[in-house]
């Protein structure tokens, strides 16, 4: 989808927002390593690995669907 009118594919937008969220959540998760939140299972540091996962998935989508001039 998209080649017809040169529309940026929706997957690129998905990648952008997931990457931004990944960075934000990872950074907050790292901060939480030193100031743990008062949630159940906080010792698992879900913010760190979930943020990293979002960053990786988002990065892959951005790379694969980056609008290119060609």
């Amino acid at each position: 989808m998209g080649e017809h009118h040169r529309i940026i594919p929706v997957w690129f937008f998905v990648g952008v927002i997931l990457s931004i969220y990944g960075v934000l959540i990872l950074a907050t998760g790292i901060y939480g390593l030193f100031h743990p939140p008062s949630t159940v299972l906080a010792n698992l540091h879900a913010g760190v690995w979930w943020g990293a996962l979002l960053m990786i998935v988002g990065g892959v989508y951005v790379y694969l669907f980056l609008p290119r001039k060609s």
Partner: protein, 564 residues
């Protein structure tokens, strides 16, 4: 306007959470502005140019249905009724979605209709189209308003936000991006929202299962906490109305939900069918609901499982909304409660964004479908038949805004008269359940006549309204409708839908038998036997929709056996 944080609230947001929510709003509006330039023509605005891939159409198809009320309402139902709530995702969705892809889609797609009422016009004529379009337009706007009110109420309880703030900000955001980019924009955002809903909600079952000690640990805890009921089997307790917390019999689930209700919604509700009509070719249109069926089967993971986990791990019982006392929490708060239990700053923002995204995808579905049905099936049919294409696009944009404003007005009306909410929720059984009989018979049987289609649809609708009024006037009559005095509300809905469907089909067939059918040449592309469906025999097996429908059906059966 700044959210009111003075009231009692369940969750406090931190700076990263607020940033995540703000980025989401900025992104969806930016997508609307970006897509505006591609939607100057009617085909672009109302059908997204008919160039969506099967994946995009399929994810959008699921996302339009995955509203916030769906997420929170069914998580609450899972806490109240246990895994029985999963029936609405499995037997209440999968067979109908596969049927849409394999059997019905060719007729919708080949007829080149813009909408479901548009198909009814081609098959039955103008009166049936007008009846269906008018009822759909009213239902959609009212449903959207009620969802908006319910969402604002949740935001007030969970986050302490001012209700007017929630209603206006969310509604105007949806209004802006749909008015700018039409169905194109709605679909793009629905795909985005699909990812956010999943990634925002998926942590709850993962962490919940870790805390509960896996599935078997969760089941053991539920049995320990609530020994009097079976919450973890989907069929075993349906032999009698009194053996399960839902007060329903398996016939209600199989025939009311699985046959009439589910097929009515997934194959004829234009809110979801519109997404599939935007596919780039017939194969993509057939694959879209089949792809959607795999994700639909998995949705209980983020909706039903959190409700079950709450039964296992929450240290206090939740109560019905009507029995809510000070310091207590209702069933409806189960998802936010579980979110607050496991998610710290950042993740909490993502989870709340998932709820907001769910609400906005549902509302965008409502207003984009409303705009199409109003413009093509009511305005063009009744007021201006031959206006230029640009005029209809302008009308589509204007009535997107109108749809949003009417939804807001409905939300305020519900705020004043809360009982309206109960009435509006019955609308589905009035208008959508009988529609399946009319559309399906028209597709498969050439002998069905225009008079039969119209009378059947009208009779199905009127009988559904009649049954609903009967039980409101005299609750003991529920035993007539649901065939048992032990039936509860949910059973009433399912049996009312079943009888409305049966009445619609019977009247359609009987009236058709005594009236004249349309000539065969007028049925080309509309009816089985007169429609040439392109063969897919030249494609490798793994590219054929029927193959993936088979895989989906097998998975569906395996799930029934596992959770029997």
């Amino acid at each position: 306007m700044i959210p009111d944080t003075a009231g009692q609230r369940l969750i406090s947001l931190h700076a990263p959470d607020v940033a995540i929510i703000a980025i989401y709003f900025a992104m969806v509006i930016a997508i609307g502005f970006y897509l505006k330039r591609h939607t100057g023509k009617g085909e672009g605005f109302f059908l997204a140019g008919r160039e969506m891939s099967a994946w995009v159409a399929g994810l959008s198809f699921i996302s339009a249905n995955l509203g916030a009320l769906e997420l929170m309402g069914w998580a609450a139902a899972a806490y109240q009724y246990g895994i029985l709530a999963a029936h609405w995702y499995w037997i209440g969705a999968i067979p109908a979605m596969l049927f849409l892809g394999i059997v019905m889609m060719p007729f919708y797609y080949i007829s080149k209709t813009h909408s479901v009422p548009g198909y009814l016009k081609l098959r039955y004529g103008e009166p049936t189209r007008l009846l269906s379009a008018a009822s759909f337009a009213v239902m959609t706007v009212l449903m959207s308003g009620v969802s908006m009110y319910a969402m604002a109420l949740v935001m007030k309880v969970v986050l302490g936000w001012n209700m007017h703030f929630s209603i206006w900000v969310s509604a105007l955001t949806v209004g802006i991006y749909v008015a700018l980019g039409g169905l194109f924009s709605a679909i793009f955002n629905e795909v985005l929202q699909f990812f956010l809903i999943w990634l925002g909600a998926l942590l709850i079952p993962i962490l919940g299962l870790i805390e509960a000690g896996g599935w078997s640990g969760m089941v053991a805890r539920i049995q320990q906490n609530f020994p009097q009921q079976d919450y973890t089997h989907i069929w075993r307790s349906l032999g009698s109305f009194s053996d399960n917390p839902m007060g329903i019999h398996w016939t209600g689930i199989v025939f009311g939900l699985g046959l009439i209700g589910s097929f009515g919604y997934w194959t004829t509700d234009f809110l979801v069918v519109q997404r599939v009509l935007a596919a780039k070719d017939l194969r993509a249109a057939r694959l879209a609901p089949i792809i959607g069926s795999f994700f639909k089967m998995a949705v209980p993971l983020i909706v039903i499982l959190p409700g079950l986990l709450a039964l296992a791990v929450l240290p206090f019982p939740l109560v019905p909304e009507s029995a809510l006392g000070p310091g207590e929490h209702s069933y409806n708060e189960v998802l936010p409660l579980m979110l607050a239990r496991y998610c710290g700053p950042g993740l909490l923002g993502l989870g709340i964004t998932a709820l907001i995204a769910g609400f906005m995808s549902g509302m965008a579905g409502d207003v984009s479908a409303f705009a199409t049905v109003w413009t093509y099936d009511l305005y063009r049919s009744l007021f201006r038949k031959d206006a230029p294409d640009a005029h209809y696009v302008k009308m589509g944009r204007a009535c997107t805004v109108l749809g949003v404003l009417l939804s807001i007005a409905t939300a305020y009306l519900v705020m004043e008269f809360k009982s309206i909410m109960d009435y509006v929720q019955a609308l589905f059984s009035f208008f959508i359940a009988p529609l399946f009989g009319t559309v399906f018979l028209g597709m498969i049987w050439r002998r069905i006549t225009p008079a039969g289609g119209f009378c059947g649809l009208l009779a199905g609708t009127l009988s559904s309204v009649g049954m609903w009024l009967l039980v409101r006037a005299d609750p003991s009559k529920l035993a007539w409708i649901a065939l048992s005095s032990q039936a509860k509300d949910m059973a009433e809905n399912m049996y009312r839908i079943l009888w409305a469907g049966v009445i619609c089909i019977t009247v359609t067939v009987v009236v058709s038998a005594f009236t004249r059918p349309r000539p065969d040449e007028e049925l080309k592309g509309l009816v089985y036997g007169f429609t040439e469906v392109p063969s897919e025999g030249h494609l490798p097996l793994w590219k054929r929709p029927i193959f993936w429908a088979g895989v989906s059906a097998v998975l569906f059966l395996i799930l029934q056996v596992i959770f029997w």
